[in-house]
Structures are given as C-alpha cells and as structure tokens.
C-alpha cells in the first residue's frame, strides 16, 4: 500500500453483486434510484475493502495465504 489510500475519486465505477445469469450480462439497477445515503454507503464499503484486502495481481502466482482466503469464500458473506 502507498501512503495515500484509495480515494472515492479514484473509483470510476462499481458493479455490485455476482449476476448469476448465463446468457446476458446484468447490472444492479435499484441503487440508481436509492437515496444518496445508500449510494454513499456502497462507495464507503468498497473503499474500506480496497484499503484492507490483500492484493493479488491477475496472471501472477497466487500466494499461499491468498489461496486460503479464497477457499474461505469471504465474498459469499
């Protein structure tokens, strides 16, 4: 991590959820119509995760600890 954590202006877009359809790509739409408070909470939660999760770069070998983390499926929480 650098001395300057990821800021909200660095987040260009957030795609929420897993989207389990197998034929066309979907996007959560209800957040668009929610209050500003809900929208802000979505960004706040993402920023918190960006500041705390271990980093793995796609296409590189995954460290052992990250493999363990993946096995726990925290994304399902």
């Amino acid at each position: 991590m650098s001395d300057h954590p990821v800021a909200e202006e660095n987040v260009e877009r957030i795609r929420e959820g897993h989207g389990a359809n197998c034929s066309s790509i979907g996007s959560v739409i209800d957040t668009l119509f929610a209050t500003a408070t809900v929208g802000a909470a979505v960004f706040a939660a993402v920023l918190a995760a960006l500041r705390t999760e271990a980093v793995h770069v796609a296409g590189t070998p995954r460290p052992a600890r990250a493999k363990d983390d993946e096995a726990k499926r925290p994304e399902d929480a």
Binding site: M1, S2, H4, P5, V6, A7, N10, V11, E12, R13, I14, R15, E16, G17, H18, G19, A20, N21, C22, S23, S24, I25, G26, S27, V28, I29, D30, T31, L32, F33, A34, V38, G39, V42, A45, V46, A49, L50, T52, E53, A54, V55, H56, V57, A58, G59, R62, K67, D69, E70, A71, R73, P74, E75, D76, A77
Partner: protein, 388 residues
Amino acid sequence: MIVRYEPWGAWVKLETQAAIVALDRDGVRALGLDGGDAWTGPPAPSAPIEVHMAVTSRCGAGCEGCYIDARPDGVEPPRDVLLRELDALRDAGVFTVAFGGGEPTTRDDLDVLAEEARARGITPVLTTSGLGLSDARLERLRPFAQVNVSYDGDAATYASVRGFDGAGAAERAIERMARAGIRVGVNVVLTRESFPHVAATLAKARSLGACEAQLLRYKPAGRAASLDYLARRLTPAQGAGLGPLLRDLSATLCAEGTFHVRIDCALVCFLSADAAIAADPARLERFGVFGCEAAGALAAFTVDGRVAPCSFARSTGLPATDVLSHAGDPELARWRAGIASPAEPCASCSLRPVCKGGCKVVSAHLDGVHGPDPECPRVLAWRKGAAA
C-alpha cells in the same frame, strides 16, 4: 482482491464483498501497484471480465424460446475439456464464469467444476430451470457464489414464455435453495405477456427467499429466432415504460437492501425513453451499468469450445482455450468496431457510453446488420421522424 491492469487503470474484484470495481491509475498506485506494460504499451482490447460457459447442450425442458436450441440428446463436454477452458479464463484474468447450457445441473461434476473455478480465482455462478432438482443436485450447487432460477411468473405467465408450466418447480427450487443457505436469484424473461406481471413475479420470488431478480429481454436467437419473435417481444409502450417500472420495483421491493433488481445488457436502450435517466448517464456508469458488452467485458464459450461475442451471437473460429488471443480475432474485432462507432441516432445519444447501441442480435435479426437497436424508443422515434 484480484487486480487486473487495464490501459485506463485496473479492474479489481473484491473478495470480502460481491463487487467489481474500476480504479483509475492513481487508485491503482494507491494500492502500491503499477500497471507496467498495460499502461505504457500500445492500447489493446481488454479481455472479458465475465464469461458465460455452456457446460452442456442437454436439456429436457423444451422451452419454446431456447437461445441455444438445447435438446434432451444434447452434448456434454468432458470435464478435462472444461478444465482447460477454465485455465484459459484464469490466464486471461476473467473474474466471473456463469455456467449454463442446456440444463447444467444434469452434469454429475458440477460441484467439481465450481471448485476448480474457485481454485483459479474465478467466481462461479449458475443458471438453472430448477426442474428435476434432486437432493443430490441441490448439494452440488453449494460451491457457487449464486444460483439463478429461470422464473418468469405464475403458471400461466411462465407457460406463455416457455410453452409449458414450470412455475411450481421453479418456486420449489428457489425455496429449497434459500432454505439450504444457497444464495439464489431469479431470471425473469420479459415478453409482452410477462411484462405486466413483473411486480407480482418479483414479489413472489422475494417471498420464497430469492435475493435478486435479473430482468432479461427476449432475444431472437436459437428457437426464438422466428416470426414468433415479433409476437413475443415487448411492445413499444412497454419498452418505453421500463424506466418507470424499475423505479416502482426499486421502491417497493428493494428499500430494505435485501433484494436487488438487475437488468440485462439488452434492456439498457429502453432507458433512453426515461428523461431523468437519460439526463444523467454518468450515474449509470458510476454504478457499473453495462449495455452491449459483446466482445468486450463479456464473452461466451459455446458447448463446442468456441468463443462467441455473447451467448446469443454466432461463435467465432477462436477456440475457447485460446481466449487470451481474443484481441487478434477478426470477428470479435468487427463487433468491437461496430460498437465503438455507432450510426445515428446512437452516435448522439446521451446513453451511448453505457448502452453501446443496444442489442446487436436484435438488430441483426430485424435489420440484417449490426446497427442501432430497432426496438429502442429513441431509434423508433428517429426512424418515424425520418419517414415523415
């Protein structure tokens, strides 16, 4: 988190919550990373972030509008073939794989495939009809991050879309999965028959334990690529009414934050009729709404192991195991070029950066070309004006 460098920054898949995030270069640097060649080399098309993988073309449901014309005697690729395809997805940095078919739960090794996807850092999800969901098949769904059940409404509505009544089986599947602790959503196909019942359909799904509903446009592919398509597609009034409908659904079903509504890529063009949405396309972008991402953020692997721009499009000659070479495939490049340089009225549409011209499968079916979506309210108005 898993970071995949892009010319503009990086896509990031979070692991403590279900979200994919686009970070600009400064944001990536804030993670202590540098994009290297992805930032300094010549710009190249991005690999897909989501791939739809047909793991079988076997299905006994016989839905009238099946987009791959699945049949009871369909083919089931051997597991080792699919594992090599998962290797290719990992090497390309794909984040999500959606297993489909055919009816994927007919495979005895579905749980193994899901675990193999996870071992490669890929989030596995699944679509099923819910028909024939035995206890053994239900158990095989546990490794999936989410399972969506095809559920178009009550008995009559379901039958109007698929040609038979599978509503009860779908409802039982939703309820059983939810009780078993499997994250379950529903896919709801919008036809002119099912559209008026959407609110009731989603309310029922939510009451059964579904956490999400994805609304799908009916598309002319497979068995649906017939004259019958014209009688089943949304009416112009229904298409123009999608924005207000979504507002109502969000207010009545999603306020507690435990249930979400998604729309598919092909429905985004209908939002051009909603003045408030069309006036603020940046909001759609910021919340990650995707229009046509065929050959872009999305790709499909056909049951015979080829890459297609999306599940409804014809496959290219590119082997699925060679998806890392996607940038050099001429057919995928043709799709990307068409989406990047749309004709009017898409060229001047405020939603163009998100919508990307609507569904090319629909335009190819109705107009014979990959042009502006002929069912988009803005395109309809444009053509009406040109004809006057």
